[in-house]
């Protein structure tokens, strides 16, 4: 394995302690995510980024509030809409952008892409492209913690639409039955792709679904990072005592489902309204009003974010594409004989000698 930059495990006391400092730190992270996501959209348009690319635009408050509530040893499982979670968990924008670019210095070494960010040091246990796929996995990580009597908790993030899939039901039941230290977070941005919560969930008050598992739950304003942070802390405390929790954060998705979706199912007015009521500017206004944020600070924070994002692009662009020779490196962790390592153009059997001729003793791939 190449020596790649590691995500420093944040010291336990890293969180700023004064309210204003916390508020500012949240704002700073929110701006970083906003700028990063805007830059990612541009990278996609430039064909530097491929595949599906889902942004946290509009959801920054939820992302930042949640991640701030975690201890360094806690585990995070996320959906494919995971860039912000990675950044807020302390992973460098460089390594996140490099992953979006599909390069060797990316968090997942270019194997995962936008939907599959993973960092073992940050205990970010992956973004997952299969809707709901992360939910049983996160439940299992919590089972492992409980099995070993650990003090960690697991945070499992998912979207609103994800509450309708079977894995959600099976996992919440297991977590409750087995008293697992896990917080299920539903980032309710009101939409699946274009389908509304009301159009897909017979109980649109999603947090109420926890009652089917005798699980505690709460709904919080997902546009307020401080409120999310406080709710997440409560939920995590609950979880650490062996009682899983369902937390619903109500937020908005500013743009289309993924960067290629023009969101034609929204009217022009709706789009304008969304941008106007945007949580980031609302939060900035609140902080300015409370004199926590000055115009200078706003500018400085924005510039710092832009600089970090620009640096991430330079880093990503400079990072190497994975070499074809590494294609077979990650099929198995435990090597076994007869693993097939054959490129599409290669024959299954090397042109063999015929009966009577001397045989090539090369093993088939």
């Amino acid at each position: 394995m190449s020596a790649r930059p590691k995500t420093p495990r944040p010291p336990k006391s890293a969180a700023p302690c004064k309210d204003e400092d916390i508020a500012l730190a949240f704002y700073r992270q929110m701006v970083l995510i906003r700028r990063f996501e805007e830059r990612a959209a541009r990278g996609y348009a430039e064909a530097k980024i491929g595949g599906y690319c889902h942004l946290n635009l509009g959801e920054e408050a939820t992302v930042v509030g949640l991640m701030a509530a975690l201890q360094p040893d806690d585990y995070v499982y996320a959906s494919y809409r995971d860039h912000g979670y990675a950044l807020a968990r302390g992973i460098s924008p460089e390594r996140v952008m490099a992953e979006l670019y599909g390069r060797t210095d990316g968090v997942s070494k270019g194997w995962g892409g936008s939907m599959h960010l993973f960092d073992v040091d940050a205990r970010l246990m992956g973004g997952y492209g299969i809707v709901g796929g992360q939910v049983p996995l996160a439940t299992g990580a919590a089972l492992a913690v409980a099995h070993r009597g650990g003090a960690e908790a697991v945070l499992c993030q998912m979207g609103d639409g994800t509450t309708n899939i079977g894995a959600f039901h099976e996992s919440l039941n297991l977590a409750s039955l087995w008293d697992l230290p896990i917080v299920f977070v539903v980032s309710n941005n009101g939409l699946g792709m274009g389908t509304t919560v009301e159009g897909s969930s017979a109980e649109p008050d999603l947090f109420k679904r926890a009652s089917a598992y005798r699980m505690a739950s709460e709904r919080v304003d997902g546009n307020d990072p401080v409120a999310v942070h406080a709710a997440a802390l409560r939920a995590l405390t609950h979880a650490r005592s062996g009682k899983p929790f369902l937390l619903e954060t109500v937020t908005e998705r500013l743009k289309g489902h993924s960067v290629v979706d023009p969101a034609g199912y929204r009217t022009r007015e709706q789009k304008a309204q969304l941008l106007a009521g945007d949580a980031l500017s609302a939060y900035a206004a609140r902080l300015t009003e409370r004199a926590i944020l000055t115009d200078d600070a706003t500018r400085e924070i924005d510039e710092a974010a832009m600089a970090a994002v620009d640096a991430s692009v330079r880093f990503a662009d400079a990072s190497a594409h994975p070499a074809t020779s590494t294609l077979f490196d990650y099929t198995y962790a435990t090597a076994v004989p007869n693993d097939s390592r054959r490129l599409p153009g290669q024959p299954l059997f090397p042109a063999a000698a015929r009966p009577g001729e001397t045989m090539s003793e090369k093993a088939p791939a």
């Binding site: 491929g50 595949g51 599906y52 599909g102 390069r103 997942s108 270019g110 194997w111 995962g112 892409g113 939907m115 599959h116 997952y128 492209g129 299969i130 809707v131 709901g132 796929g133 639409g161 994800t162 309708n164 899939i165 079977g166 699946g192 792709m193 274009g194 389908t195 159009g199 897909s200 969930s201 489902h257 034609g264 199912y265 594409h321 994975p322 070499a323 074809t324 590494t326 294609l327 077979f328 990650y330 099929t331 097939s340 390592r341 054959r342 490129l343 599409p344 153009g345 024959p347 299954l348 059997f349 042109a351 015929r354």
Partner: protein
């Protein structure tokens, strides 16, 4: 004849059947308001309303199963599963229910169901979104599986699938949606279970389906310029599998290459190769070569993805090598 896209052909087939038969309805995620992830159902909600164009929650097993149940009671649902990868969430309903109900109950209930779903890689979608797992359905008695490679076949096979009284999986392909081709003004439903010799040739038989049938035709054209005369078979139907057409061709050409977009070991091509090696045993002058995807979880990085996916160059290389292998044995 008009030249339209594969996407349009699918759309037209759905629309015509919706107009023709009130029992046909569309069920799937984001097919209405969002107009379909790949826009096959664009405009359908507006034309047919929410009772016949059912946007569903994200619940592949539930809505696919519901479509099967509705089919048991006489509707003719067409389900969209957004990509074939997600069909794994619904496979119990498809394999253990749709494919079993007619037989398990002694023929008392039919399941006139269509499942439309695209396969295809090459879009940097990563390991879970780039699989070609049509094998899972083609393997199952009780299922029918068709895999058109042209707009004309897309339309004709979709019409056939909708009018068939058994569960039919229609394998679409992300990489083909924007391809175009001639489609007759009036299309008759195709016969499910028949392959087509889409190019006659005398030197070698190349067999493909879906995207790889397109690659097969392209390879044939390239090689024709060098005087190599390739016969191309487009399987069109994976279940039933038309062994007669395949074997008949190879008896003529005496060698064959199989192109497939799935993994080699146990892939669709294994059956084709085994079928040829058995049915044309005494005619075959070289081993049947298979060109298939590298056997790895598909990486996101473009460099790796390109290395893992079978290409036109791979197809041409394999054809040449097979002709060489025959020559060595001649």
């Amino acid at each position: 004849m008009t030249v339209i896209s594969y996407r349009q052909a699918l759309h037209d087939a759905l629309r015509e059947e919706m107009q023709r038969d009130a029992d046909v309805l569309l069920i799937g995620e984001e097919i209405g308001r969002f107009e379909g992830s790949y826009k096959i159902t664009a405009g359908m909600l507006e034309e047919f309303g929410p009772r016949r164009v059912r946007d569903t929650p994200i619940a592949e097993e539930g809505f696919t199963g519901a479509a099967i149940g509705a089919a048991m009671v006489g509707l003719r649902p067409v389900v969209e599963i957004m990509t074939i990868n997600f069909s794994l969430l619904a496979i119990d309903q498809i394999v253990n229910h749709a494919a079993k109900i007619y037989g398990m109950f002694g023929g008392q209930a039919r399941v006139p169901l269509v499942i439309r779903t695209p396969g295809g890689g090459g879009q940097q979608l990563g390991a879970t979104h780039s699989q070609n797992i049509e094998l899972y359905y083609a393997f199952v008695p009780g299922m029918k599986v068709v895999a058109p490679s042209t707009p004309a076949d897309a339309k004709a096979l979709m019409l056939a699938a909708i009018r068939d009284d058994d569960p039919v999986l229609v394998l679409e392909n992300l990489a083909l949606y924007n391809t175009t081709g001639e489609v007759p003004d009036v299309v008759e439903p195709a016969e499910i279970g028949r392959a087509a010799v889409v190019r006659t040739g005398s030197d070698i038989t190349v067999i493909g389906y879906s995207r790889m049938a397109v690659i097969a035709r392209e390879a044939a054209e390239v090689l024709a310029r060098e005087g190599i005369d390739v016969e191309v078979i487009d399987l069109r139907s994976l279940r039933p599998l038309d062994r007669v057409t395949i074997v008949t061709s190879v008896k003529k050409t005496s060698c064959a290459v199989v192109l497939e977009d799935d993994w080699l070991t146990y892939g669709i091509g294994a059956e084709i190769a085994a079928t040829i090696s058995d049915g044309a045993f005494d005619w075959l002058d070289a081993p049947v070569r298979r060109v298939a995807m590298a056997e790895v979880p598909m990486p996101y990085a473009k460099s790796l993805e390109m290395a893992a996916l079978p290409s036109l160059a791979d197809a041409i290389g394999a054809i040449r090598a097979t002709l060489d292998a025959r020559a060595r044995r001649a």
